[in-house]
């Protein structure tokens, strides 16, 4: 094989030598033939003639010998490439339009694919990621007390300790907090000084070894570090944190950091590609031993026996153990663990619940991610949409190249007459398409890089740093290359076939000015069919975009149960400033007093969680002292608030009163509930006056309902109302007494008072960190981020598709008018009115539009049915949206074809009829 390669290369590089050799051999063959015949007795002249007859064409023999090697194909490929480039340069306008359309189409596809690659396909940068499995799908995050049957993905710490010792079925198990913790950092050398915040992730000592991640400097955590609670305060920091916050200090190993007041020692730095095991908006800055949980979270210990469920787990599979076996072992161990927890007495019902639990082991090579789950659907839909846009662009390009091939008919005929094969011509046209596609794809790659950055910043909601990267990796580059080749094939096939089927007779003649050229009707159907194709796809995209936009509007217009103008939200953390629960009430009073005093502030309040957020605190409850029967599910979502909360949000009060300053720590515990709570749990009569107890031990005591407010939305605008109760912050104790959010209602634009609020807080206590400051509108937007993402992009793609379809129609119409110049000239000369000519041309495009719409309607309905899950407040078959889409499409296309139609009316009969 090598020999083949080398002789081929030699022939390519030294064609003269090779040619000479072949010619010599053919010549020698001829001479041998002559000599042989002469020896047989023929005269030399006869011998020569006979030999010529035998060889026939020496030229052809030489050509055949040359063609026997692979270098001919390579050589003709190079020749085709150079010719293609010349052809592309010959018609710069057409080529520019083609390249720009390709750049837009391929660039958009690559951008979406890069995001899909980052979020859904890329594997963690660790050893053998395909052997990693997660316990459950890892979607649950938070601190919970669970008992329901079904799949589990969140566990208590002692289950991890119980199962981690066994290495028979899985080659190592690691545990980590299901949510990252925000911590306050001070460089230990400076006793005081400004504190910064960082994101910490609590992990078990086996974390890094199970993942198979090696440190850049120093060491990672090992099981010794998590052997005992509260000791081994070590930290492994991320590359970015080391670079930006520790100035890439080469001596960072051994340095101390004061994390939430506890001194931790840095023992390792991870490489820049490592971001942990969770792909979410918050990227950890450091990994801390899980046994330091109380210090890092500033909360009571969750590590005890009978602890709450707050940990996700992953394991590394053993190559010889099938997944099903490991999975059943894990499930059995979990059921045993739950049974042991119940103690000696266990009810039959509880036993049944436990036996219904299971732990599915799922592939975790790409990490665990909440972002992935919420963006999976939208990204898939967008990938399909952007693929449709590319198809529309391909149809345009096919039309462009078809027109160009038609104008090159003479060239093709000449080549065919000179002996070229039809395949060769087709190949050359395809090569030209490929060159265009590669150039467009190259530009598109650059465009995609910029576009991906925009997309990522949207998905990340402006997080300062992210694990998602806009840089294309090998998979993305291969995808782009594949798209280029596929695109070239799609839009090159029709012109290639057309060009290779050029009929030699007729086209070579000088006079081609007839009203219809050779092979008329078949030739003109294809461009029109392509236009219809574009119209159909554009209608689908417009309808989908329209429905998504209306979904967005519906979500935005939802009544949230509060007046959501002019509210500023401030996120702080009294724990970072060292406040113990006993001092909190006075702190809250001071903060509210100071902020209320600001000019431009109408009212202020504080709460444990913000009025709108993704997650919730919740708990089962018992009403009026009656224990809840196990068959019933009586629970409520909870939040803790200061006085003035409902007044600040302007949530209407329906009965009773809201939380007041009089509800102090020693008084009767007051709670306000929403209408759903009142209607569901106290359907007859007034909820005010009743009471309930909360299962969550942090909110112990009897809570008396003092008021009922209107229902509001909490987690997302599309949710159904759930029972909600607000407790008075002052009447809680311990960890649950902390309030992290301040709501400020301003008289005017909330942004204007931001700096004053900041100053006011600094006055109260300079150590109070301002973690976040945003308006309630911005907070609301973050709840519907993926709907905003998909509706914005869908509209962009629909607009792009429409533009491409218009350009396409414009091109085809113009070409058609030019072709019909003679006919139009004759008509005008015979006295046809201008309007009649206009209508004649317009009618063509209207017919195409109509056919496209008729074909597109059922396709649109099918498409909207497919995205039904993402819609809110509109039905997939919504007629208003469909009609609007048709109207927009028609308006755009009619405008696009007006220009060529007007050209038709401007034809000068004299020029039209003149012979070329």
């Amino acid at each position: 094989m090598f020999r083949n390669f080398w002789s081929g290369m030699r022939s390519l590089l030294r064609p003269g030598e090779r040619n000479a050799e072949i010619a010599a051999e053919v010549q020698s063959f001829f001479e041998q033939a002559v000599e042989h015949r002469v020896r047989m007795g023929m005269s030399r002249a006869d011998a020569e003639r006979a030999a010529h007859a035998e060889i026939r064409s020496a030229e052809m023999v030489r050509h055949k010998v040359w063609a026997a090697g692979w270098e001919t194909s390579a050589e003709s490929l190079v020749r085709d490439l150079r010719y293609s480039v010349r052809q592309i340069l010959r018609s710069p306008g057409l080529s520019l339009v083609a390249i720009v359309s390709l750049a837009l189409g391929i660039g958009a596809n690559t951008a979406i694919f890069t995001v899909i690659n980052d979020l859904m396909l890329k594997q963690l940068p660790v050893r053998d990621p395909q052997m990693l499995v997660s316990f459950g799908d890892g979607q649950d995050a938070g601190i919970m007390a669970l008992s329901d049957p079904g799949p589990y993905d969140i566990f208590p710490y002692d289950f991890y300790r119980h199962i981690a010792v066994d290495r028979d079925e899985l080659d190592g198990i690691a545990a980590f907090a299901s949510f990252p913790a925000q911590v306050s950092i001070r460089a230990a050398s400076a006793g005081s000084g400004p504190a910064t915040q960082a994101i910490g992730h609590l992990v078990s000592g086996s974390f890094f070894s199970v993942l198979g991640a090696e440190p850049l400097m120093g060491r990672t955590l090992n099981p010794n570090d998590t052997a005992t609670e509260g000791s081994n305060a070590v930290a492994v920091i991320s590359h970015r944190y080391w670079r930006e916050n520790l100035a890439a200090d080469p001596g960072v190993i051994g340095r101390s950091l004061a994390i939430n007041g506890t001194t931790f020692v840095v023992v390792g730095v991870m490489p820049s590609s490592f971001f942990g095991v969770q792909l979410n908006q918050l990227v950890p800055d450091m990994w801390l031993p899980i046994t330091m949980q109380p210090q890092v979270m500033m909360q009571p210990s969750l590590l005890k026996e009978d602890g709450l469920f707050w940990i996700n787990m992953i394991g590394r599979r053993k190559p010889d153990v099938p997944v099903a076996q490991a999975q059943s072992w894990v499930t059995v161990e979990f059921q045993r663990f739950l049974t042991a927890r119940e103690g000696a007495q266990i009810s039959a019902r509880r036993q049944q619940q436990i036996s219904g639990t299971n732990i599915p082991l799922m592939p975790a090579g790409a990490g665990l991610s909440h972002m992935r789950k919420s963006y999976e659907g939208p990204l898939t839909a967008l990938m399909i949409m952007v693929g449709l846009v590319l198809l529309i662009a391909c149809a345009n390009l096919a039309n462009l190249l078809l027109a160009k091939a038609a104008s090159r008919a003479r060239e093709f005929c000449a080549r065919l007459a000179l002996g070229s094969s039809r395949g060769r011509i087709a190949r050359q046209i395809l090569t030209e398409a490929l060159v265009l596609a590669l150039i467009g794809g190259g530009l598109g790659l650059g465009l995609a890089f910029w576009a991906t950055r925009v997309l990522i910043s949207f998905i990340d909601q402006g997080a300062k740093h992210t694990a998602l990267s806009p840089t294309p990796d090998v998979r993305v580059l291969l995808f782009t290359l594949g798209t280029c080749v596929l695109t070239a094939g799609l839009f090159g096939i029709a012109p290639a076939l057309r060009g290779s089927r050029t009929q030699v007779a007729g086209a070579l003649s000088a006079n081609t000015r007839t009203t219809s050229g050779a092979g008329a009707s078949a030739q003109h159907v294809l461009p029109k069919a392509l236009i219809v194709f574009q119209v159909t796809l554009s209608l689908v995209l417009l309808t989908v975009a329209g429905l998504l936009l209306r979904t967005m509007e519906n979500l935005r217009a939802q009544d949230l149960g509060m007046n959501r103008t002019n509210i500023l939200l401030v996120n702080t953390n009294p724990k970072f400033a060292g406040y113990q629960p006993e001092r909190l009430n006075t702190l809250y009073d001071r903060i509210l007093a100071r902020i209320d005093a600001l000019p431009g502030v109408q009212s202020a309040s504080m709460s444990g969680g913000p009025p709108l957020q993704r997650g919730s605190w919740g708990s089962p409850i018992d009403l009026d002292g009656r224990p809840t029967p196990p068959t019933e599910n009586i629970s409520a979502l909870l939040n803790r608030v200061s006085a003035g909360y409902f007044e600040t949000l302007e949530t209407p009060l329906l009965r009773g009163r809201t939380i007041r300053a009089e509800d102090h720590a020693d008084g009767v515990k007051a709670a306000v509930v929403n209408k759903t709570f009142a209607n569901r749990y106290f359907p007859s009569g007034d909820a005010v006056g009743h009471s309930f107890t909360i299962a969550d031990p942090g909110a112990a005591g009897v809570w008396h309902i003092v008021g009922v407010v209107r229902d509001s939305k909490h987690n997302n605008p599309a949710e159904r109302p759930a029972p909600f109760a607000w407790l008075a912050t002052t009447q809680l104790t311990g960890n649950d007494q902390y309030a992290y959010w301040i709501e400020v209602r301003s008289a005017g634009d909330p942004h204007k008072i931001a700096s004053e609020v900041r100053a006011a807080l600094a006055e109260v206590d300079a150590n109070l960190p301002i973690l976040e400051m945003k308006t309630i509108e911005e907070q609301f937007d973050s709840l519907i981020d993926q709907q905003r993402f998909v509706s914005k992009l869908a509209s962009v793609f629909a607009g792009l598709a429409l533009m491409l379809a218009c350009i396409g129609l414009y091109g085809v119409m113009t070409y058609s008018v030019v072709r019909r110049t003679t006919e139009l000239g004759v008509r005008m000369a015979l006295g046809a009115p201008q309007v009649g000519l206009l209508w004649m041309v317009l009618r063509e495009s209207l017919v195409l539009l109509a056919i496209g719409v008729v074909l597109g309607l059922p396709l649109s309905l099918a498409a909207t049915q497919a995205i039904k899950a993402g819609l809110f407040g509109v039905s997939p078959a919504d007629p208003v949206t469909l009609i609007a889409a048709v109207v927009v499409l028609s308006a755009a296309l009619v405008t696009g074809s007006l220009i060529p139609a007007r050209r038709a009316t401007r034809v000068d009969p004299m020029t039209a009829l003149r012979c070329e």
Binding site: S7, V26, S28, F29, Q32, E54, V61, K64, G69
Partner: protein
Amino acid sequence: MTDASRDLVQGTLEMLVLKTLDLEPMHGYGIALRIEQVSGGVFRVNPGSLLPALSRMERAGRIKADWRISENNRRAKYYVLTARGRKALEEERREWDRRAAAIGKILEA
């Protein structure tokens, strides 16, 4: 019957060439002549088929070529069978026999 040479499938032609060269090294015309003579005129190979086939076989390493002076004092490119070519000849010979036997059986049945 100059058209008969087209009936020779490319693979069969190569096998015949290998066999011809098995006897002694030859130049292109000599090979064509030998095949025609031994087959009694049934197969006439024209240079348009033979020379490309020789080039392919040379690329594949089955034959080696060098320029020598022929018996009538003219330069000609002589081809020689290589060890690989000899092995290929045996394999193709076996394959051919197998096929011929199978066809024979079908025709007899």
